[in-house]
Symmetry: C2
Subunit: 191 residues, 2 copies
DNA sequence: CTCCAAAATTGACCATGGTCATTTTATATG
DNA sequence: CATATAAAATGACCATGGTCAATTTTGGAG
């Protein structure tokens, strides 16, 4: 009963290519499903036969970018200071703040979808945990908590710093400075 | 040139009442603007003459609930332990997780709108900062960082705990337990 | 009281994400 | 090759948030 896969894969690839092309021109927020199917040369319904909804497509594309940053982080040496850690995660953070819409999509899906299946972005966050845990195991930071917990805190503070960075009340301080303060207090407490 | 205010206020109140009524029956996610204007007895356009968009209405209603919790927290005594602190903030957290949609709205607006004006939810978060700062000033927690910074961390960890609680990967641990672990590590470090 | 300008309201209309019964296409089988 | 059948694609259609030119209401000035 296993029938035509090549056609399916081809269509999916065309949709993804078209989406990426549009994002290159108009940014993530500017993407319209109508334009995607038009460029892919398929009908509206075909889009939704391949992706449950528009968010699912966005998740795939955004998670792919985030994963690329994690690939780099994975091969990096153990950070020997907060600065080294910051340098390692800033590329990812910069992507996360490239558009308000991107940050919103990431937020919506970081804690996984409301549905039962786990989306690409939630998987990326899980992978972040792993990567951070491994990196922090031998780093010269506090020793009273596990590397995994340290990693979760870094995630939490990164999101907090990003949220405040998008905020008009609080954006007199640059994101990097704010995040540095958070990470100092979190990873090198003196009390 | 100052003309009719009573009419405006009345209409606005009717819209808000209708919205609250619907939320009582169907929850926040179940609210449709069409149903709001129908119950308020006005036309569709009137809704958008009073609120920039549906999110703005949601913000008002959700921020009002959150503010009520802050009112209580404001009159509470200084927490003398993590448990006491948790007891103080759990009502607010429970509201924030009452619906996935509610949490999403809060997240979207906690870091303020992308626009230049500051929404009610962002103001609530700013007020949270103030309330926490005052409460933590004399609390028996770490002394190496400011009360304000401690408060920001509590916010960050609360959101992280909420996000993971909505997540299918990570919800084998109850929110309260996870948040306790975070706050212990954040407010009472031993390294 | 009449008339005017600003404020408020209206509802037809639009944009866009998403659905689904129907049609087309590919492939396995006799 | 002909046929059956399941996968894939189609596009008219729907739901809902949001817009805006036209209309009605309001309160004050003369």
């Amino acid at each position: 009963m296993t029938k035509q896969q090549s056609r399916t894969l081809q269509t999916r690839a065309r949709l993804l290519d078209a989406a990426q092309e549009i994002i290159g021109e108009l940014g993530y927020e500017g993407l319209r499903t109508q334009e995607v199917v038009k460029r892919a040369g398929v009908a509206k319904g075909t889009f939704f036969a391949h992706f449950p909804d528009k968010d699912a497509l966005m998740e795939i594309l955004i998670a792919a970018e985030m994963d690329a940053f994690l690939d780099q982080a994975e091969t990096a040496p153990t950070p020997d200071s907060i600065e080294a850690l910051m340098a390692m995660i800033m590329p990812l953070i910069d992507f996360m703040r490239c558009e308000r819409y991107v940050f919103d999509v990431i937020l919506r899906h970081s804690g996984a979808a409301a549905k039962d299946n786990i989306g690409p972005i939630a998987l990326t966050f899980a992978r972040q945990d792993e990567v951070f845990t491994k990196l922090l195991e031998n780093a010269p930071f506090r020793k009273d908590i596990s590397a995994g917990l340290m990693g979760e805190g870094i995630q939490a503070f990164a999101i907090q710093a990003l949220a405040l960075d998008f905020c008009t009340i609080n954006n007199e301080m640059p994101l990097e400075e704010r995040l540095s303060i958070y990470l100092d207090a979190w990873l090198l407490p003196e009390g």
